[in-house]
């Protein structure tokens, strides 16, 4: 009797778990690109929100890694099949940390450096990131970009954290497959 009951419970939980992966929250992230001569610049309008747990993590000497991954895709429209061709990709890596002796949050990469005493200002910079001269176009055609943005502060190294982070994870955030507007590049003669 108990084993039959368990069988049913087991199946129901499996079904619920399976469908819970398909639930999506409303997506309002915007990613756009602009063409200046032959240079592509990227603009983000994201909706990241940091929980208190995430900020607490930064207070105690942990740093977060923010990666903007951008992929340039060329649109090739043929007579029968429309094909997308990957041209090149690039990674922009930033680090977010808290300086205890000065009471400031710092956001830095190998080229840039921002600092502020309030987390909301740093978050504003991350959400409205503008990256200039990302790609240089050489050939004519229609192009668009797709982007993944990830914020990682704690990697799930141990199995306990791995299972915890499957369902409860305010420490690592990710937005994947943001698709930009299409631009057309023509070489002026």
């Amino acid at each position: 009797m108990i084993s039959k009951l368990l069988k049913i419970i087991f199946l129901i939980t499996l079904i619920i778990l399976f469908f819970s992966f398909f639930l999506e929250t409303d997506n309002k992230n915007i990613f756009s690109i602009t063409l200046n001569e032959n240079n592509i610049s990227c603009n983000y309008k994201l909706n990241f929100k940091f929980s208190q747990s995430f900020i607490d993590l930064l207070y105690f000497n942990n740093q977060a890694e923010i990666v903007y991954y951008i992929l340039l895709v060329k649109k090739i429209s043929g007579p029968i099949i429309n094909q997308d061709q990957k041209v090149m990709d690039i990674k922009y890596q930033y680090f977010l940390s808290y300086k205890n002796d000065k009471n400031i949050f710092t956001l830095y990469s190998s080229k840039e450096y921002y600092e502020s005493n309030s987390m909301s200002k740093v978050l504003e910079i991350i959400n409205n990131m503008e990256i200039d001269n990302v790609f240089k176009l050489e050939k004519e055609g229609k192009y668009f970009c797709s982007s993944d943005i990830s914020i990682t502060s704690l990697a799930p190294i141990s199995p306990a954290l791995f299972f915890l982070f499957l369902f409860y994870n305010p420490y690592n955030m990710k937005i994947s497959n943001l698709v930009s507007n299409i631009i057309s590049y023509e070489i002026s003669k």
């Binding site: 607490d56 000497n61 002796d101 190294i157 141990s158 409860y168």
Partner: protein
């Protein structure tokens, strides 16, 4: 004699009340990750830590019930009063035994993972509800090293050094898995498990000797290193609390009439 005992008892209660009274002027901020890892090691302990005792006790009872009831469905247990258990594992396990093992195993795993997630969420909720009263309290080095000695990596989670803690936990976890595999391959492949057997150091083969020695040394070394780093990390982490939450504290050695030791004096600016 009786009078002295009563007076001592009253002193003990009053002394505790004084300490309690001092502590309840603010509430301790709960760490969701620490409570989750507590639940990983001790079922339901993370929920008790995040002050949801009823839930914690329910999870603890449920997990132990599943573990023992599941074990009893596979291994036949004869019990006689007061404390005599005889275990007779199935010599030729059939399909039903494997089905029971799979069902009870997955159920135990599901409840365990749910308790871990629930304890993290509960401590987060606790912080949100009591957001105006809570303070981050600096960790005690003694408790950090004690936690790491009993459960490797837990002390590191207590002092908020999550990366190191995860590594110590991983070493502990892989060690346990290796032990289970070794035990399974050694004993469960032989069907005559019900016969009594002896283990002598001289009768062991060289590879078995190396396994036992390396297992014991890694077991102890992992605990010693984890405890040492937790102690050191706890003292080092004090600098992060000085500017956090306007908290100011000093570590003062003191000798009073009833105790002596290091006291952490916490004050708010």
């Amino acid at each position: 004699m009786m009078k002295r005992l009563i007076i001592l008892f009253l002193c003990f209660i009053l002394f505790n009340i004084i300490i309690f009274g001092q502590e309840t002027s603010f509430l301790e901020k709960k760490d969701p990750l620490f409570s989750a890892i507590l639940s990983w090691y001790i079922p339901g302990a993370g929920l008790i830590y995040s002050e949801n005792i009823l839930k914690g006790v329910i999870y603890m009872g449920l997990e132990y019930f599943i573990a023992f009831y599941g074990l009893a469905s596979i291994v036949k247990i004869n019990y006689t009063w007061p404390f005599n258990f005889t275990f007779t594992p199935p010599l030729n396990p059939d399909q039903e035994d494997y089905f029971n093992l799979a069902i009870w195993g997955t159920l135990f795993f599901a409840v365990h993972i749910t308790s871990i997630i629930d304890s993290a969420i509960t401590s987060d909720k606790y912080n949100q509800i009591n957001s105006d009263k809570i303070r981050s309290i600096p960790p005690s080095p003694f408790i950090a090293s004690l936690l790491s000695w009993t459960y490797p990596g837990l002390g590191q989670f207590y002092i908020k050094d999550y990366f190191k803690g995860s590594i110590f936990m991983l070493i502990d976890f892989t060690q346990k898995i290796i032990l289970y595999i070794a035990l399974y391959s050694k004993f469960f492949t032989e069907p005559e498990i019900s016969e009594s057997f002896e283990i002598n150091w001289n009768s062991l083969s060289d590879s078995e000797k190396i396994f036992f020695v390396s297992y014991a040394s890694i077991y102890i070394l992992n605990r010693i290193l984890s405890g040492y780093f937790a102690y050191k990390g706890a003292i080092e982490s004090y600098k992060y609390y000085s500017n956090y939450n306007n908290l100011n504290f000093n570590l003062v050695p003191a000798i009073t009439s009833d105790s002596m030791g290091l006291y952490i004096i916490i004050s708010f600016k």
